[in-house]
Symmetry: C2
Subunit: 411 residues, 2 copies
């Protein structure tokens, strides 16, 4: 794509109403537009990042056999009554709305109840299990305050998967298989090295731990204790001697860190399936409870995490796997033909290129390349003759290459 | 995919609470799940159809230079106040909700105002225009009744594109370019032959016509008069002698038809841009109005249209371009190895296959192949020796082919 064809522009001004670095940078770079506090639209560059994150998450959910579906935002009251999660005194962050006939509706904040309800049309025998279903869909939470940019929004995009197992042992297998997929996801997103599987509170209805995927970050809302050798952590909230024994961790091996939650896994026992009447009949014809797990990754939140943890003084820094483009192409001087040729050849080789074809000072183009956080900058200039300049966003080294060498390097 | 790995099942029972054929069939075939009247979840097969429609629409919007973004569902009151589209007395199908501090919010029913508002951060010079932006996003309309299945939902998925032009002539060019893309879309969706560009009322603020893309269907809510030779139509509501002259149509060439609206294009003049203060400065430094157009296609509605117009007595019939799978593979008797081989070879050739690997009577598998509406049925059976049976969903002819011939036919 050419910058001249992109309607967004960068800005030097830090938005006065944003405290979070992720929102400041993403707005300045034209990735997102603030609709109101905690509610952001995704502009073309931002949507490309979101789609790249979705693709990685989707591939890994499919790889464990997840079946993708799409639940609804509008929610009827009755199914939430069955689990006592309707009343605002119990769940304090619902958005509610009303039909013309005054029937109260919920605006989807999570989807355990409707998913279990939908499955009850299909699942009734041991032959129907085990299974995973998941969706990538918007969620809405009526947060009192929203100051963290896209890290914690009132409207956000989430991947939520649910597993359904016949026995505790089968559940444990599904749970671990999904946990392994989570490790692969965070590796592919470029934050595997700083994201720890972290034991946390499992909720009031289970004695099991939940697993948070905590990414080390200065802006993190959480405090965790990390065992770096074991690549495991424990949330400060549950870091008792008793729990450390259960987890096989020793206090002296732990280091305190600030972190932000990029994903989580909860054991749901049979709380939702029992409440909504989803059972299966076993080989002997006996009705049995279904053991569930739920597996969340905030897609837009992860985009915020990536913005926060990688950004430097010059702007955003995207890992290659999620960057909106791989190459930021800059032409300096009268080199239109050569730049067009470079642009075409790179694209033909499958490299996504954003060509800054504006008639602007080189310094401004370089500053935008940095602010946008595109992994590689390629410069075409008269001064360089047959060569092109290649610079990684994260490095200082500038290499001079001819086009074939460049293609070999990037494709 | 194997049917045994798909959690949905087909049902012979017509849902008692559904009057619309599209909803009856889509529920029986396990494509959708009814959350409440007018609100449907998309199960794995249904989501695949939706994604195929999205892909076609997205490709054609990109082909005219459309820049994709993603607006928000939660909407602040102020921008809608500027166009007088906030009050329930003016717009009667808003869903509204409230923040904790009691601020009223809208639940996005359309996006002219927020899109124009977002662009005002970026567009101010003649150099920034013309442009198209579009999104594919959920919309919410508080319909009094919802009886048409996914043809007219309270929650639905829509593609809405907006064009921004400097002059009326430039607007007309953008409008026609998008209209041509619409023709390509309906052709690719398999309803080009029965979908007419139809002149309709343009709204109270313009003397121009709007264009509806009306698909001939018995269940249509609209009446149109079609000039089959010119491949044009006019909505009954505006079919006056005066308008026919303007349109270059003659009453004697017109045939009355029932139809359903699959898409529409509206000239918006500068109603929204002026109201929200989006102007551009021309070459002489003079402030000018921006002429807008808006271009809608209901993605989920089109899925309903396809279900309605192609279904027969045996079930759904999907055009190949949107079908969830191209082939429904049926094994009869002890032919697991041969079926596995066929399944693998087809998939390797890029053909999407749903293998009915259940231990069920062949008749039941054939009935499901028909109900699901998969374009081709392939049978592997001992009786056939080296041959395979190929039957199109829409034909009666059964061909016997070997695997290589089958691959040549389908890949």
């Amino acid at each position: 794509m050419r910058v001249s064809q992109l309607f967004t522009k960068t800005s030097k001004n830090i938005p006065a109403d944003e405290q979070a670095k992720n929102a400041q940078l993403l707005i300045r770079a034209g990735y997102i537009h603030k609709e109101m506090a905690g509610v952001y639209a995704y502009l073309p560059l931002g949507l490309r990042v979101l789609e790249n994150i979705k693709r990685i998450v989707r591939e890994e959910m499919n790889s464990v056999g997840g079946q993708e579906l799409l639940m609804t935002t509008l929610q009827p009251r009755d199914i939430w009554g069955k689990t006592n999660r309707w009343d605002d005194e119990v769940v304090d962050n619902w958005f509610k709305t009303r039909l013309k006939n005054d029937t109260e509706l919920g605006v989807g904040l999570t989807h355990e109840e409707p998913i279990v309800d939908a499955l009850s049309s299909y699942v009734d025998s041991y032959k129907d299990l085990p299974l995973y279903v998941y969706q990538i869909a918007p969620k809405f939470r009526n947060e009192l305050r929203a100051k963290s940019g896209i890290l914690r929004g009132r409207e956000f995009l989430m991947k939520d998967m649910y597993s359904f197992a016949r026995t505790q042992a089968e559940h444990d297998e599904l749970y671990e298989k999904a946990a392994e997929a989570y490790t692969r996801i965070f590796d592919r997103l470029g934050i595997g090295d700083r994201t720890y599987r972290t034991a946390a509170d499992g909720g009031y209805f289970t004695e099991r731990f939940s697993d948070e995927y905590q990414t080390i970050s200065e802006v993190g809302e959480d405090t965790i204790y990390v065992d770096e050798a074991k690549k495991l952590a424990v949330n400060k909230e549950i870091c008792t001697d008793e729990n450390l024994v259960k987890l096989g961790l020793k206090r002296e091996d732990l280091v305190e860190k600030r972190s932000v939650e990029s994903g989580n896994i909860f054991p749901l026992e049979s709380k939702y399936s029992d409440a909504l009447g989803l059972y299966y009949t076993d080989e002997e014809g006996v009705r049995q409870s279904i053991i569930m797990g739920c597996y969340g990754i905030g897609i837009s939140r992860v985009m915020g995490v990536l913005a926060e943890v990688f950004a430097d003084g010059k702007g955003l820094v995207w890992p290659e796997a999620v960057a909106p483009f791989k190459v930021y192409l800059v032409n300096i001087g009268d080199v239109v033909n050569k730049t067009t040729d470079t642009y075409d050849r790179l694209q033909k080789a499958g490299v996504e290129v954003l060509w800054d074809d504006r008639e602007t000072r080189p310094g401004e183009k370089f500053a935008d390349a940095d602010l946008l956080g595109i992994p590689y900058r390629v410069v075409v200039s008269e001064r360089l003759g047959d060569k092109l300049e290649l610079k990684a966003r994260t490095g200082d080294k500038i290499e001079e290459l001819n086009l074939d060498e460049l293609l070999k390097h990037l494709a």
